[in-house]
């Protein structure tokens, strides 16, 4: 695994200590911050490859930090205390990935790998009028999408089965974004097949 410089920001010190150690054991370099001002300060002091950020971090709203990270093109993973929902996925400032408490350490590490890999490889997938740019995490060069949304739409393009229960919020937000972009494809449930990308005539 690549050695990454990770900025880990959470108001819970125990969380910081444990995950700092875990990520370091995996070979990463970890910088810790326990509130919003510290995050901004640490970001100024040194470059980070990726930021893992508590969504409700005190002192500076997560949204402001995320939009700053977006503009400086540093990927960010948000830790949510609630379940992911379409409100979050359709908000203006979007993280590159979301993870909900409680999670297993391996889930977080997997997410770090996926996000940084996508960013680094910058793969572009084109299907009919849909274009996914993994370097910028954008759909058709316009709307931002999350790591999970990219996974879902790529799976759909490859006609793979997707777990509808886990993917439901992403399917819903992707459909919403495709509508916003006036694309002709939509994600629909096809009987006996599962979720598929289909051309919508409605």
């Amino acid at each position: 695994m690549n050695k990454l410089k990770i900025l880990l920001a959470d108001s819970n010190r125990d969380f910081l200590t444990s995950f700092k150690k875990l990520l370091e054991l995996s070979g990463h370099e970890v910088i810790c911050a326990f509130d919003g001002t510290q995050v901004i300060q640490k970001l100024h002091e040194q470059n980070s490859d990726i930021v893992i950020l508590e969504n409700d971090i005190p002192r500076i709203a997560g949204k402001i930090i995320i939009s700053q990270l977006n503009s400086s093109d540093i990927p960010v993973i948000s830790i949510l205390s609630s379940k992911i929902n379409s409100d979050i996925l359709l908000s203006d400032t979007l993280s590159n990935a979301y993870i909900s408490l409680p999670f297993f350490p391996s889930e977080l590490e997997e997410l770090v790998t996926q996000v940084t890999d996508k960013k680094k490889k910058g793969q572009k997938t084109v299907y009919e009028d849909i274009e996914i740019d993994e370097a910028s995490f954008r759909l058709c060069d316009k709307l931002r999408v999350t790591n999970e949304e990219i996974n879902v739409i790529k799976a759909l393009i490859d006609k793979e089965d997707i777990n509808s229960r886990k993917s439901w919020p992403y399917i819903s937000s992707l459909n919403n974004k495709l509508t916003k972009l006036n694309k002709k494809n939509r994600i629909r449930y096809v009987m006996q097949e599962g979720y598929r990308l289909v051309t919508d005539n409605e």
Binding site: F15, K83, L101, F104
Partner: protein, 407 residues
């Protein structure tokens, strides 16, 4: 106001209304009947005296005052058998022969003239007995080929009855109002603990969701750290196993709580499509468990509601039948009148009548013991259905578990 409290107040008020109406009706009906009987007794006495008191011997003055009220029952000095009857009765009697010619037998009344009285009596010839002109009682009888009509004024006897009727109506209404106030007050006291416990349960779920998540994640991370530093051991394995169990429960909690937020977005959902899709998606799981899955879904039924909540509720419903069916599961969706009905039936090992508590939070029935669940699935279904003003019922009969939702 809480729904259960409202229901209680409405039911109790209805019960009070019915009982009060019954009581007051009986009192008034009996009272009026007795007044009628008294009046009939008087006309009977008059009839027995051939239509008039005129031929009576003058009443003997009561010389033995000792006797009065002592030896004779009190009631004999009241009503029709009172010695004052002759003097206090206002009445008139006319007799009519076969040609219809009238003859005045007695006339002791001030409210009408003799001519009016005669035509009044004539109009009653074909009757037998009853009330006329509100407070006059009449009796028609035959003596020696002649038809006698006696009409007595019972106004003074009727007045108290009408007063009682008025008091009954006004008093009843006041009592209903008072009972409503008392019920609202009592309902508040009575339901406060219940509402409080419901609120606390919800609060607990919300807290558990928030306060358990972070510690779980940290314990998780440190167990993994221990394993990485000192290698896996029996103990770390057990901790891991328990963490997994708890993580699943906490996730259950967070998924299965409907916020009290009133602004849940609502849209028209094609519930037929939704159910078909979800069942279709889960069909392989039913096959894996060798459960015969049958469906009877009416097409294109639309429901106004929140898709996310309805979807989750349906998933829980399907999950429930997947978990607890023995060999058969059936789903039905149909329109009945203006409501939408969803029925889920599966065979079960539960005994009859044991399904009352399935909708309670944290309730796990005997066939689900030991399963990794918090007993929240069907309580979520119920919450979701009541959030859409629907109704849930469940029963076990002859080895079948039947769950019915009316939306």
């Amino acid at each position: 106001m809480n729904k259960a409290r409202k229901k209680f107040i409405i039911y109790a008020e209805c019960a009070i209304f019915v009982l009060l109406t019954l009581l007051l009706s009986v009192i008034n009906v009996v009272n009026f009947t007795m007044v009628s009987e008294d009046a009939d007794r008087i006309t009977e006495i008059i009839a027995s005296k051939k239509g008039t008191f005129e031929h009576d011997a003058p009443a003997e003055p009561n010389t033995n005052r000792q006797q009065f009220g002592k030896n004779k029952g009190t009631f004999e000095f009241m009503g029709p058998d009172s010695p004052e009857l002759k003097a206090s009765t206002r009445y008139f009697t006319f007799s009519f022969n076969e040609e219809g010619k009238a003859k005045k037998i007695a006339f002791n009344i001030s409210a009408v003239t003799e001519e009016e009285a005669e035509s009044w009596a004539r109009s009653l010839i074909n009757q037998s007995t009853g009330w006329t002109n509100v407070n006059y009682r009449y009796r028609v009888y035959e003596i020696k080929d002649k038809t006698y009509v006696t009409v007595i004024d019972q106004g003074r006897e009727l007045l108290p009855s009408y007063r009682i009727l008025l008091i009954s109506i006004v008093g009843g209404a006041v009592l209903l109002g008072l009972s409503l106030i008392i019920l609202i007050f009592v309902g508040k006291k009575l339901f406060k603990p219940l509402e409080e416990s419901d609120r606390k349960q919800k609060q607990f779920i919300a807290n558990a969701e928030r306060d358990f998540k972070m510690p779980l994640t940290i314990i998780n991370a440190n167990t993994e750290l221990l394993e990485k530093e000192h290698g896996q051991s029996e103990q770390t394995k057990i901790i891991n196993k328990q963490i997994r169990k708890m993580t699943a429960l906490v996730k259950d909690l967070s998924v299965l709580s409907i916020s009290d937020d009133k602004n849940i977005p609502v849209a028209k959902i094609n519930i037929s499509d939704l159910i078909n899709r979800l069942i279709d998606h889960n069909r392989p799981k039913f096959q894996d468990k060798n459960i015969e899955l049958t469906t009877n879904i009416e097409d294109d039924i639309l429901l106004g509601g929140n898709e996310e909540i309805i979807r989750k509720a349906l998933i829980e419903l399907i999950d429930n039948s997947l978990k607890y069916s023995v060999s058969k599961a059936n789903f039905e969706l149909k329109r009945s009148k203006d409501r939408i009905q969803i029925r889920q039936i599966n065979d079960t090992t539960l005994p009859n009548g044991s399904a009352d508590q399935v909708f309670d939070r944290f309730t796990i029935l005997s066939n689900a013991e030991g399963a990794n669940n918090a007993g929240l699935g069907l309580s979520y279904v119920k919450d979701a259905v009541s959030a859409h003003n629907g109704r849930c019922r469940a029963k076990v009969s002859d080895g079948n578990f039947i769950l019915q939702i009316d939306l």
